[in-house]
C-alpha cells in the first residue's frame, strides 16, 4: 500500500517553485555548502544565506541568537507570515540546517524544495540568474528558541545509554573511526568513532538518484524495517557539524513522522572532543 509522507506540506517540487516565482508572500532562500554557488547563479528572487558567516554565532560556538536571526531574516524581507522555501546544494544539506533554524525560531511555514539546487539546475525549463535581489527590510519578530528540535550534550549522554534512536548519518568510515572527518575538512575531532548505541545510517540513504527524497514506503522500509529505528522512541540524529544530520532529522521528523526527533548540531566535532565521553569504534 502506498503511504504518503507524514507532513507532505513541508516539501515543494521544483515545478511548484517555478509556478510560484514572484508571488509576494513566498520567499526563496538558498543555503549552500559551497558558498560560491549562489553567486554563480540562483533561482530568480532568491536571497542567499552563508552558513559559515550568517547562520553561526561568530564569537562562541552556537547557532545565531534570536536577535541575529530576526535581523538576518528581516533584512531579507521575510515576514513571520511568509512561506519560506529553502533550497541548496549537496541535496539540501545546509538548506535542511536552515529549515531547522527557522523551526527553532518559530517560523510557521517553512518548506524545502525537493531535490535542491541540482534538480533545478538540470531541468531545462528552470532559469538561473546572477542578479542579487534587494529586498526591503522588515521587522521580523521570532518566537522561541524552540529547543525541542535540538539535542545538547546531556540529552545525548542520556540517549547513548540505550532506549533511544541515535542515528549517525556520517559515512561508514567516520562511523567506524577509520577516519575522523572526510578528507580535507578543517572541522575535526580528537577522537574517531561513534556515540555508543548509535546506528549507522548514512544521510544519502534517504535520497533517490535524482536528488529528491525517496518515497515514504522506501524510507519506512529502510529506516524502520531494515535499520530498526523505532517510531515510538525518542530520536537524535548527528553527523560531524550538524548539517547532514539536519537532512536526516528532516526525513525522520517530517517525512516519517517521528515527532520526538532532534538534531544534535554539536555532533562529532563536539562529542569527539569531550574528555571522558564513552566512544565506540568499528
Amino acid at each position: 500500500m502506498m503511504t504518503s509522507y507524514a507532513h507532505p506540506e513541508v516539501l515543494v517540487s521544483t515545478d511548484w517553485v517555478k509556478e510560484n516565482l514572484g508571488t509576494p508572500n513566498i520567499k526563496l532562500v538558498e543555503i549552500d555548502v559551497d558558498t560560491k554557488a549562489y553567486e554563480a547563479g540562483h533561482i530568480p528572487g532568491a536571497v542567499g544565506f552563508n552558513w559559515q558567516t550568517q547562520l553561526q554565532d561568530q564569537v562562541r560556538r552556537d547557532i545565531i541568537s534570536k536577535e541575529a536571526f530576526e535581523k538576518l531574516v528581516g533584512d531579507a524581507g521575510i515576514s513571520p507570515s511568509d512561506t519560506v522555501i529553502v533550497y541548496g546544494d549537496n541535496n539540501n544539506w545546509f538548506a535542511a540546517y536552515g529549515f531547522w533554524l527557522f523551526k527553532i525560531y518559530g517560523h510557521k511555514d517553512v518548506r524545502l524544495m525537493n531535490g535542491g539546487r541540482v534538480k533545478w539546475l538540470n531541468e531545462s525549463d528552470k532559469q538561473l540568474v546572477t542578479d542579487v535581489p534587494q529586498p526591503t527590510p522588515v521587522q521580523y519578530k521570532a518566537t522561541g528558541p524552540h529547543l525541542e528540535f535540538r539535542a545538547m550534550v546531556p540529552l545525548v549522554f542520556e540517549a547513548s545509554k540505550g532506549g533511544w534512536n541515535l542515528v549517525d548519518v556520517r559515512s561508514p568510515d567516520e562511523f567506524t573511526g577509520k577516519v575522523i572527518a572526510p578528507p580535507g575538512m578543517s572541522e575535526t575531532a580528537q577522537r574517531g568513532g561513534h556515540i555508543p548505541n548509535a546506528k549507522s545510517i548514512p544521510w544519502s540513504t534517504a535520497v533517490a538518484p535524482d536528488g529528491t527524497f525517496k518515497s515514504a514506503n522506501e524510507l519506512r522500509s529502510i529506516y524502520i524495517d531494515q535499520k530498526g529505528v523505532d517510531p515510538n522512541k525518542q530520536t537524535i540524529a548527528y553527523c560531524r557539524i550538524g548539517e547532514r544530520s539536519s537532512h536526516t532529522w528532516f526525513v525522520l521528523k517530517y517525512l516519517l513522522g517521528l515527532e520526538n526527533a532532534r538534531n544534535y548540531d554539536g555532533s562529532w566535532t563536539e562529542y569527539g572532543n569531550l574528555v571522558a565521553a564513552p566512544i565506540e569504534k568499528a
Binding site: 555548502v33 559551497d34 560560491k36 554557488a37 554563480a40 547563479g41 540562483h42 546544494d89 549537496n90 541535496n91 539546487r117 541540482v118 539546475l121 538540470n122 532559469q127 538561473l128 540568474v129 546572477t130 556520517r170 559515512s171 568510515d173 572526510p182 578528507p183 580535507g184 575538512m185 548514512p202 544521510w203 544519502s204 535520497v207 533517490a208 538518484p209 535524482d210 536528488g211 547532514r244
Partner: protein, 321 residues
C-alpha cells in the same frame, strides 16, 4: 602539412592524427613477460601536454562550427586540470575566454598551469561525503555558470559530449591500429570521463573484436587526479560497459610508486595515472601470458611533483639546503 620536417603554421597543426600519431615506446626493463611486448603511447607528447588535447580540440571545433563561441561568449568547463589546460590554451590562442572549475584536490601545479594558460579559475571543495548519485560539485558549478550566464559561457561538458568519444574514434584508435600493424591484442586505459576508453575501444573492436580492453581504476577515496573509481562513474554519460572487457581496481598509492619506477627505470617521465595503468597491465600480462599490449599514458609527471612528494616517502628529504 609535412610532418617529417615538423615545421608548422600554428600549434594546432601539431595535434595528433593518424598521419602524426603520438609516439609509442616499448617497455623494456620493467616488462616481466618476454612473450608479451608492451608499448606506452605517450600522450604527453601532444602539444598541450596530455591525452586531453584530443577531446578538447574536437569539442572546441564543434562549438566553433556551430557558432556557439565568439570573442564575447567563451567556455566554462569542469576539469581536473588536463582538459582545462588544453581548452584554455586553445581557446585563448583563438580569441575566446575560458573559465575552469576544478576540485580543490587538483594539485597546485595544475591550478597554476590553468591560470598560466589563461583560464579564470573556480576552485571548489568537492567530495565532502561519498554519496551515490550526488552530482559532482565542479560539474554543477560549471553548469550553473553556463545556465545563469548563457551569454558569456558555452559549456563543452566533456562528461556528456559525444565529441569526446569521437576524438578517440577518429584519432587514437586508428593511430594504434596503424602503429601496431593491427597486431594489438590488449588495450590498457584508465577511466575518467571515459571518452578515451569508449572511442578507442569502439574503433579497435570494429577492426578486431578479439582485442581485449582493460580499464584500470583507483581504489575508492583515491588521490589520482583525473581518474574515477567506478562508484564515481555515474557522472560520465560516456561510459559504455560493452566496450570494456575487464575493470581492475588498483590501490591508488601504487599509481605513484609505479610512476616512479617508470621514471627511474625506463626513462619514461610518466604521471600517476600512467603508473596506475602500468600496475594493472602487469597483472593482466602475467594472467594472459601472450599478446601485444598498448597502454595509453595520459600525461607526464611534471604536474604532479607535489602529489609525488605527498605519496612517496622520503622524496622530500635532501631537497632543502
Amino acid at each position: 602539412m609535412d610532418h617529417t620536417k615538423r615545421v608548422y603554421n600554428d600549434i594546432f597543426e601539431m595535434l595528433p592524427t593518424e598521419e602524426n600519431p603520438s609516439p609509442m615506446v616499448r617497455i623494456n626493463r620493467l616488462n616481466p613477460n618476454p612473450d608479451f611486448p608492451l608499448f606506452a603511447k605517450l600522450e604527453w607528447m601532444n602539444p598541450f601536454g596530455s591525452v586531453k588535447d584530443r577531446a578538447a580540440w574536437t569539442m572546441l571545433r564543434d562549438l566553433e562550427k556551430r557558432g556557439e563561441i565568439n570573442e564575447k561568449r567563451g567556455i566554462v568547463e569542469p576539469t581536473s586540470g588536463n582538459t582545462g589546460i588544453s581548452l584554455a590554451a586553445m581557446a585563448r590562442a583563438r580569441g575566446y575566454h575560458m573559465r575552469a572549475v576544478v576540485p580543490n584536490k587538483v594539485p597546485l601545479e595544475k591550478k597554476l598551469l590553468l591560470k598560466i594558460a589563461g583560464a579564470d579559475l573556480d576552485v571548489i571543495s568537492d567530495e565532502l561525503c561519498p554519496a551515490p548519485g550526488l552530482g559532482d560539485g565542479s560539474i554543477n558549478l560549471a553548469k550553473t555558470h553556463a545556465k545563469a550566464q548563457a551569454h558569456r559561457y558555452a559549456m563543452p561538458n566533456q562528461y556528456e559530449n559525444e565529441h569526446n568519444v569521437q576524438a578517440h574514434l577518429q584519432t587514437t584508435g586508428p593511430e594504434i591500429w596503424r602503429q601496431t600493424d593491427g597486431r594489438i591484442t590488449h588495450l590498457f586505459v584508465s577511466l575518467g570521463t571515459c571518452g578515451t576508453v569508449s572511442g578507442t575501444s569502439k574503433f579497435l573492436k570494429s577492426k578486431n573484436p578479439e582485442i581485449k580492453v582493460i580499464a584500470v581504476q583507483p581504489t575508492e577515496g583515491h588521490d589520482v587526479p583525473g581518474l574515477r573509481n567506478v562508484s564515481q562513474l555515474g557522472v560520465s554519460k560516456l561510459f559504455d560497459s560493452s566496450l570494456v572487457d575487464d575493470i581492475l581496481e588498483i590501490e591508488f598509492r601504487l599509481a605513484y610508486a609505479r610512476a616512479l619506477d617508470l621514471c627511474q627505470n625506463e626513462g619514461l617521465l610518466a604521471g600517476p595515472s600512467s603508473g596506475l595503468i602500468f600496475e594493472g597491465t602487469r597483472e593482466i600480462i602475467m594472467r594472459d601470458k601472450k599478446g601485444l599490449g598498448v597502454m595509453i599514458f595520459p600525461d607526464n609527471i611534471f604536474k604532479y611533483t607535489s602529489n609525488m612528494a605527498k605519496h612517496i616517502a622520503g622524496l622530500m628529504s635532501g631537497t632543502q639546503a
